[in-house]
Structure formats: structure tokens, C-alpha cells
Symmetry: C2
Subunit: 384 residues, 2 copies
């Protein structure tokens, strides 16, 4: 009775972990939640009653014109020239993954993904029947592997800036190489860029799609990490040939995005309030990243290796002698600690002994306690 694709809906493992992670008393490194302290405080009194009242009626599928213009203006400062007509407002960038899946993927469509990759993108691509072709991304991207896979795919999904889960950030040279490969083989490049603004050391290089000459491309960003996930607001920018299809797919999906959120974000961008907000948020994130780096060094150094991420929300930790990260995760859960097993992010499904640790949500003192507990459990696991 149900469509065949439903068999490919991945199990609710991650939902289960996140549900447990929210129990009081559990220290959670499992989700990808922004720091509560860094979330936007909506000033409802700043919303004029007239504008609010107007926002109650149906709106345009593409999104509010003024917001699309603000996004285009902001992208130009980041290094991606585009017109407001190329901008589509989304319910968070997860929706962009759904729309691009509909645009490009049917049963058997070959799609290049990094391994590891954002698990909810893998979930969506699989749902639509993609044949996933992986390129390893552990302590750096393997451009040769990318060059070998690129000729055989229709779509390449990449998260070149502070990737979830690996934290890796492609250099400008690497971005140019990938764009050139996409041009050479006419592959549609889909750049997912939600973490760009969470840069703790140096600013991120310009978007990869800005180097594309002739290939079709789609770029997406989010206000979930910079302002607040509860607003469910992201945006997509696409090659002029693709944007009309994506707008129609958005219309069929939900007519248009929430207008209250669009109004709030538009006012923030027009008022130049995003940069000051980031200036207040980034020190909170940097402090937590540094706290986790120190705690890992203190407790986990004998058992694991990692790179300190220059941005984003995660440490991607390779355990020396643990091969079953699902078992470790269960062991952690029964000790009031939540982590994400790396295998969830591997399109190939191999467990290579990685775990993903989120550093943005727990306060520094909990990070210290959690990592100490993790080291104890890892050392016990190794002895088994």
C-alpha cells in the first residue's frame, strides 16, 4: 500500500537519541543545538501593528521581496553575486534539501556526497532513491577521489564550510578545484552552508559556487545558527535556469514560508542587527569550543585523535580502539551522557570508530564533566 520509498526511511535511531538527550540530568553532546544564551531575543514591541497585520494574509511563494533583497545584498558581501530574483526563502535549509531532492533525484540517480555527511541530507537523498557515491572527508578532502567520482554523477552535495560532522573547511584552492570539476563534467553543485558565520579563528573562504563558470548550482544558508532555529528560516540561491522549478516545488510543498519569521528577520537585516548579534554570540561558542578542546586533551588524549574545528558546532573524534560506536553510544546513554555515533553520518554504513560531539549547547562545566565521563566509558570499552 505505501510507496516503496518508505522502506528507505531510515530508522528513528537519531530521533531516539535526541529524545533521551533531552531528559533532565543527561549531559548532551548529541544534537546540533545552538547555545540557548546565543539565541535571538525577539523584541515583539519592535514589530509595527500594521506590518504584523499585513503578515497574516497569504504571501508570495518566493518569500517577502524585502527579505530576498536583504539576502542578496548580504551574499554579495560574502562573495556570491546574485539578484533577489534568485533567492527563495525556505523553512530552514532542511527544506532546501527536500526541494533539491525533488528537482534532481529519482530512483537510481547518482549523487556525490562526502563521507561523513549531514545525516538528514543522506536521509532525504535516499528517500528519493539516490545512488550515493562517496568521497572520503576525514582530516581533509580527497580531491583525487572527488575527481574520480564527479564524471559519474548528476548532483554533488557538499558542505565545504565547517562541515557537520567533520568540522572540515575547504581551502579556497580546494573550492576552485571542485568548481572546475563541476564545470568540466556539467555536474550540478549543491553547496550547503549553514555554519559560515560561526567562524572562530579566521573568516571562511568565499562560497564554492562563486567559482562555478557554466555548471548549474544551488547554494543554501540558514538563520537557524545565526539567529534562532525556532524561526525555521533559511534561504536558497540558485542558477537562473533552476530557480523557477524550485519556486514551483516550494509552492507544491507548502505555498510559502511563515511570514512572521520573515518579518522578524527582515527587520534584523535591515536594521544592521545581525553583525552585533553575532559579535555577542561568537565568544560564547568560542569559549565552549575551547572548553571542549581542553577537556578532550585532558581526558581523551590516550584514546583518540581529533582536530580542533575552526568553526561550526562539532568535534569529530576518531577513537583508537573502539569499533562499535553504537554500543558506545548506548553505554553512554545508560550513564546519562548523549553522543552521536559516527556511523550515522556514513553513507556507506561502515563504522570507522568516529563519534560526533556537539560543543555549543552544554555549558563549559558540563562539557568538562561529560568528557571526563566519556573518557572513562571509552577506556572501559577498550578493555572489553
Amino acid at each position: 500500500m505505501l510507496a516503496k520509498r518508505i522502506e528507505r526511511l531510515t530508522s528513528s535511531l537519531v530521533r531516539d537519541i535526541l529524545a533521551v538527550a533531552q531528559r533532565p540530568g543527561v549531559i548532551s553532546f548529541a544534537g546540533g543545538l545552538p547555545a540557548d544564551e546565543a539565541l535571538l531575543q525577539v523584541d515583539v514591541n519592535a514589530l509595527s501593528p500594521d506590518v504584523l497585520s499585513d503578515a497574516m494574509q497569504y504571501g508570495p511563494t518566493e518569500g517577502e521581496r524585502a527579505l530576498r533583497e536583504q539576502v542578496a545584498r548580504r551574499m554579495a558581501t560574502i562573495g556570491l553575486q546574485c539578484s533577489a530574483d534568485q533567492v527563495l526563502i525556505l523553512n530552514g535549509s532542511q527544506q532546501g534539501i527536500d526541494l533539491v531532492s525533488k528537482l534532481m533525484i529519482e530512483e537510481g540517480t547518482p549523487v556525490l556526497v562526502e563521507e561523513p555527511a549531514y545525516l538528514a541530507a543522506l536521509q532525504s537523498f535516499k528517500l528519493f532513491g539516490a545512488d550515493l557515491r562517496t568521497v572520503p572527508l576525514q582530516q581533509g578532502v580527497d580531491i583525487d577521489a572527488l575527481a574520480a567520482v564527479m564524471p559519474s554523477v548528476n548532483l554533488a552535495y557538499l558542505t565545504p564550510t565547517f562541515q557537520n560532522p567533520s568540522g572540515y573547511c575547504y581551502s579556497e584552492e580546494e573550492r576552485k578545484s571542485v568548481a572546475e570539476l563541476a564545470d568540466t563534467h556539467g555536474v550540478c553543485l549543491f553547496e550547503d552552508d549553514p555554519y559560515r558565520e560561526l567562524a572562530y579563528d579566521t573568516p571562511a573562504p568565499v562560497p564554492m559556487v562563486s567559482f562555478v563558470q557554466s555548471a548549474p548550482w544551488i547554494y543554501q544558508g540558514s538563520f537557524s545558527k545565526t539567529l534562532a532555529p525556532g524561526l525555521r528560516l533559511g534561504f536558497l540561491i540558485a542558477h537562473p535556469d533552476l530557480i523557477p522549478h524550485l519556486i514551483r516545488l516550494k509552492q507544491a510543498a507548502d505555498l510559502h514560508s511563515n511570514r512572521l519569521s520573515q518579518l522578524i528577520v527582515r527587520q534584523i537585516l535591515e536594521g544592521g542587527e545581525l553583525e552585533p548579534h553575532l559579535a555577542k554570540s561568537l565568544p560564547i561558542y568560542r569559549e565552549r569550543r575551547d572548553a571542549m578542546a581542553a577537556a578532550l586533551q585532558r581526558h581523551l588524549a590516550p584514546y583518540a585523535s581529533w582536530q580542533v574545528p575552526a568553526g561550526g558546532l562539532f568535534f569529530w573524534v576518531k577513537l583508537n580502539a573502539v569499533n562499535d560506536t553504537l554500543a558506545l553510544m548506548r553505554q553512554c546513554l545508560s550513564n546519562e551522557l548523549a553522543i552521536m555515533p559516527g556511523v550515522a553520518f556514513m553513507a556507506g554504513g561502515r563504522d570507522e570508530g568516529y563519534i560526533r560531539l556537539n560543543f555549543s549547547h552544554a555549558k563549559p562545566e558540563l562539557i568538562e564533566r561529560g568528557i571526563a565521563k566519556l573518557a572513562q566509558l571509552v577506556s572501559e570499552q577498550q578493555k572489553v
Copy 2:
């Protein structure tokens, strides 16, 4: 390069009409917009800062627990018993159509639809490859035709209450007959119910799915027509076997719905403010329906026939001697009047001389002027 389904994305005719319809000076009967005067006025001062602040973080895919409970409670009063666990909060009920398409429809899946039917549902079903099997619904549902089609389909999509576009409302007897047919043939019944509360004469009969004994079923409702479309908030209630799949599909589509809107609607439901709001809105809608009924009688009676709808937002008008409603629509547009050609709602694509006229958005004096103009254009068209 693009997925084959993109070829099936219907043309932007309707988007074009609606774009023109929004030009100043145009009298529009084309869209399905609620009366501006009936829209919710959000009282932002009623939102407590604590609750607002909490709503900024990621939330549950299913929707806020308290809102799901309010929806389940409200459904019980309408005649559909369900638990809060069966409720999934949506970005408007258009999203439910997308999720159910993903759940049930693949290339060639036979789906029963009324003819005419809600055009954005037809669009979504076609996008996923449905083989649409139609049952006529002009001045009443043809239960024999329904009985003939039911054994050959997997899914039956029906809008039994003040349907868009026909305005038809199934009697309780007809609802029971359809539910029995679904049970007999094990067909999943998908009841779309956004207009229930807009009943101008007598309350609508209980939902059709409440008569289902054994068949799988999905019911959906919306806050777009009762409160405000800009909130993008609807809900879906499903058989316990289906709801876990639908929740996972929602997660893959956009993680969860906007929390600000959920918070606003939850406060309205908890405060018992929906009924008083409807008590203020319904007279506005009733007045406009009656104004259009009178104007039609005054101007269009020689050229057309129609039933006065007992609810919803539309008149479905059969023109006696116009066979090309697209040409009539273009003629109207060049005379600053927007109507919807009935052919857009026919899965079979035959033009049977129907047009859809929305009565909720234009004020009574504009309804009078617009219908007079329409009658003039129809009479000219007949002479050609």
C-alpha cells in the same frame, strides 16, 4: 539532468493569474484569500517573554505537545476521536498533501480524486507520478461512480466539506457510504478539511474518516481559514499505523514547523479565543457570499447556473454557452477582473464551461461591480 517529475510540474498559469490579480485596480475573484477584515490580529503583548524565548530553540518534529493536545480536544468536539499522539503539526495543510504524496504515491499509483478538485493537490499528486482516476462532483457526488473507481485505487483524496472549487458538502449518508467503500476495499481515505468552520447556514456533518472502521485514513485541517494563512499552520491526524511514517517524512522535509506560530495558536486555543474570533468573522463571510449570490442573480442569471454554497469561499458557476474559460479569463484580465477558469481544477483537463469565483476577499461593493463586468464580458463572449 533534472528528475523526470519536473516535466509534470504544471505550468505557472495560476501563479500568473494570481500575480496579475494583485495589481492595484484589479477586482479579484481568483484567489482563495480570507477577508482581510477577518484575519487574526496577533496580540504580541500576550506572548510571555519566557515562552517566546523558549520558542527560539529547535522543537519537536511532531509539533508542540500542548498544541497537539488542543487539536485533539477540538477534534473530539467535531466528532473525530483521536489522541494527541496521532496529531502532526504542519506548515499549513498544503504540506500534508506533500507528505501524503510521499507516503503513498509513486510512478503509476492509482489515486481517486473528485473532478473538480483542489488544484494544488492535483499538482502534488501528478508530481509524484499518480495515475488520477476521477469521480464527477458537480451538483452532488456520484456515489455509483465512486463505488466503481474505489476498487482500483490505493488512495482516495476527498474534500467532503464545502469543497474548493465546487462548494459541495457531502451529507452524512454520503460520508458513511464512502467510508464503507474504503473499508470494503482497504483504500486509504485522505480527507482534506480546511473549510469546515466556514459554515454559513448549518454546521458541517462530522468528518468522513470518523465512519471508517478498518481502512487506513488521514484527516487534515488548517488554521489558515479560521485564523490567518500567514501563520502557515495546519495539522494532520492519521491512523496510528501511518503517523510514525508521516512524522519521519515531516522531519526529512523541514525538521519541524515554526514555533512562534505554534505558540500563538496554542494560546488562542487554550484561551478559548477561536470561537469568539469565528463569531466575529462568519458574518463578514456570510455577507459577502450573499452579496455575490445577489449580484450573480442580478447580472449573470441569463448566462449561467450555480448553487449558493453553504460554506467555504467559492461559487462554482456553469456558463451556458462559454466553452473556452481560459479565453474568458484572459478577456477578464484585460478588463481588470480576475477569475479562475474551471479547467484548472479538472484532472482530466476538459473545459466544461465552469469558472470559480471567490467571494471572501473583495468587499461587497467590488463584488457587485465585478460581477456586472463579468456578465458583460460573458455576454460579449457568447456573441462571438
